[in-house]
């Protein structure tokens, strides 16, 4: 039987809870990648389960006027992540160190640019992202890493679309300022970082 839209699945799961499995099959992989990006693979396993259990419990409140449940699921996952801000900050820092130490890509044409991004930019950006206010970081990362449109972010975070726009604009301004500020210290810091890893 063709399951139809997410809204159909959720509607059916109200009377027939096991139908919720199709919603998991459709979106679990995407949500898992999102959680891994934000918090790392080991913590992401459990948070994936938490996200879908909460979604199941709250499924009656899903606005079935929308076909796709993905923004709603992103919203729940984002709130689940909110309890793990410190782990997320550690993740960002660890990723920065790992990335800086990593071999350049195999394709030599991309090597220069990629290794510049990785070694010089990522540690700066990771710090800057960690320093953003929570609401701005959530909106920005849903936009650039998850490719959600502004209206989808608005649904996910439960805020008006104008708020999404202003949060992302503020976040971009802040990122530019933060990366510029710490740009001066970048040379010394990344040199020190590499020294540690190579030793």
């Amino acid at each position: 039987m063709e399951p139809g839209s997410d809204a159909d699945i959720i509607e059916r799961s109200l009377g027939e809870p096991a139908a919720f499995a199709s919603l998991y099959d459709r979106h679990a992989a995407v949500l898992y990648r999102f959680l891994v990006r934000r918090i790392g693979p080991s913590a992401a396993d459990g948070l994936l389960g938490d996200t879908f259990r909460i979604a199941f419990e709250r499924r009656a409140s899903f606005d079935r006027g929308h076909e796709s449940a993905r923004p709603w699921l992103y919203g729940i996952a984002t709130r689940v992540l909110a309890h793990h801000r410190r782990a997320e900050a550690r993740r960002m820092r660890a990723a920065a160190v790992l990335v800086a130490s990593r071999e350049a890509p195999i394709d030599p044409a991309q090597r220069a640019a990629a290794s510049h991004d990785a070694r010089e930019l990522w540690p700066l950006v990771a710090d800057a992202i960690s320093a953003l206010p929570v609401g701005e970081r959530d909106a920005l990362l849903l936009h650039v890493w998850e490719d959600l449109a502004y209206d989808e972010i608005a649904r996910a975070l439960g805020v008006p679309i104008g708020t999404v726009r202003s949060r992302i604009n503020r976040a971009r301004r802040r990122l530019r300022e933060l990366t510029a500020q710490s740009g001066q210290q970048a040379a010394t810091r990344s040199a020190a970082g590499r020294g540690k890893i190579e030793s």
Binding site: L48, G49, A95, L98, V125, R172
Partner: protein
Amino acid sequence: MSDDLDRLRRLRPDRLQPHDPMDPKVLMDEKERLMSAIEQSAASVHAATRMPSIYPRLAYRDVLRALDFLTRAFGLRERREARLEHPDGVLAWLEIGDGVVMIGQSGAAHHELYSPAELGRTTGMVMVSVHDIDAHHGRAVAAGARVVMPLEDMFWGDRRYEALDLDGHRWHFSERLADIERRRGKSAE
């Protein structure tokens, strides 16, 4: 203008540092956990809405008014999620302890069930065990229930009273004397 966004896109952790292909076992394990949580919650919902194997249906001239009276005067609780509101009448389920009564519209079109107020007599009595019979009695009297047998200790070991509701259905409320004594003993300590 969107240079900074593109740069940020390129810096997505798994673009710079692709993870090993996702382990399908993670997704399968989490799905298994989710489904067992769903099964459990479905089982508990089922338990909360399960009806006893036997329970009566009583007929009232005005079901919503009866509902209000029975909850206020006799301390029954409505199973709100069970209520059915048809254009030609409301059906409601009320519980107290582990017992349930169903109430519906009276009349020829409704299973030919009539209210005692329409018949001038009643043919049954609902027997209810309650906690703290004295408080229950006080509440019923205050809400306007007509007490037709006074509150008394009976030789078979109950303290009981009988009352009529708005439509004249007869209700028998009781508590075991042994339970009352045990409660008093406890509060005296």
